[in-house]
């Protein structure tokens, strides 16, 4: 799936490029878009499944810079999933140039107990694209 975005001025830093702490935010936006597109936006996950998705691990490799006004794409998909954990892979692209790659690992929490639970069956099916 592909999420499109433009660099905002307030995301740049004094080296003239997008500050690295914005990439986790871009990934979060892209995940939100992904969940929406598969029919399970956050609020549905929260309300229908009584579940919060949490972030356990984050990895980013920065290869090139993004500049104010740049249009870019984030290509993302599920790279790994078992009963408990699932991961997204991301490529940040400006045209054909790979700006950065990343991975995030997640689990589901019961919203009341705040304990990790198995990924709800229906969500697993959706994440798998089935």
């Amino acid at each position: 799936m592909i999420y499109k975005r433009k660099v905002q001025f307030y995301e740049t830093d004094a080296q003239g490029v997008v500050h690295h702490s914005n990439y986790p935010r871009y990934f979060e936006e892209a995940r939100g878009y992904y969940l929406e597109k598969i029919g399970y936006p956050y609020e549905k996950i929260r309300n229908d499944l009584n579940t919060d998705i949490v972030l356990l691990e984050l990895q980013i490799r920065y290869k090139k810079a993004l500049y104010f006004g740049d249009s870019f794409e984030i290509k993302l998909g599920i790279s790994d999933m078992d009963k408990i954990f699932f991961s997204f892979d991301y490529s940040v692209l400006k045209g054909d140039t790979v700006i950065a790659t990343g991975r995030t690992k997640h689990a589901c929490l019961n919203r009341k107990t705040r304990k990790i639970i198995s990924i709800p069956h229906i969500l697993r099916l959706k994440l798998n694209g089935t």
Copy 2:
């Protein structure tokens, strides 16, 4: 009262200066420091008084820029208070140079009803420095 701070790199933008959206954050930090110093930190206001402080208005005049690594001070105090509303005035100073001035206007909410209430008597006394 005076709150001291240093500019972080992630607060700068591509013009090489602190991005203007960080000043409301600096003011928030300074208010938190102020409330702590008068013996009513946020958590005490929340827990003992069952009250949230909300921001109603914000004004900032930007005169000079702050740069990465700059040490600066925020001079702040209560500029106005009646039964319901109170305001803080701020001066952002680098040495003797006025970088910016600002004002924020606040009210108190009952945490359960989320309705505006009179400023709790004890908090009003503390804010007045009496």
Copy 3:
């Protein structure tokens, strides 16, 4: 002119609403959109006119809250302009509800000297919608 936006999760705070320091960022996005639509995006202003636009004053009145996932609009326009200064007025709207209103005051700098200059004639015409 109207700029449309959605609230991102990372823009919320522990009171469950959009943190107030994001509104200056929303205004900046809306201004960028405005300048693009009148045919003078920042880079054209910078490169063709050798000019930087700076922010001198910011005012915001917060009336209601925005929540994660909310879609909202920013209605903006030039509210004031003379030879040196110009201001934008903003209304943040969720449906028919006014969430916040704001104003920003700006001037133009010569990019080399960093001195305030008259608003370039062509930019003034564009800002005036003529």
Copy 4:
């Protein structure tokens, strides 16, 4: 080395905890503190050595949450260094509890050519604590 910090309200999100995108910022603050303590603050690296330090890789494992008002420590040190690359390891601690761990990988750029260079000899010595 240990860097101390307090959670600011604007760093929290609607789950009531510090948003994950603030950890790279905390690491950046801690690195700045580290470089200062070894006698090579950024501006000295920039001005004396004509060098910019860039971030190539970022990894974070989130184990527990931080809350508004929490005081925490970041324990950091050089975990790896060769002629070109060096890495920092981080532990975010609240008392004895490990909140998160992280690693960042860096290289040095010549400020004019923007090309990767060997780590300047004097900087390598300082980073090694020798």
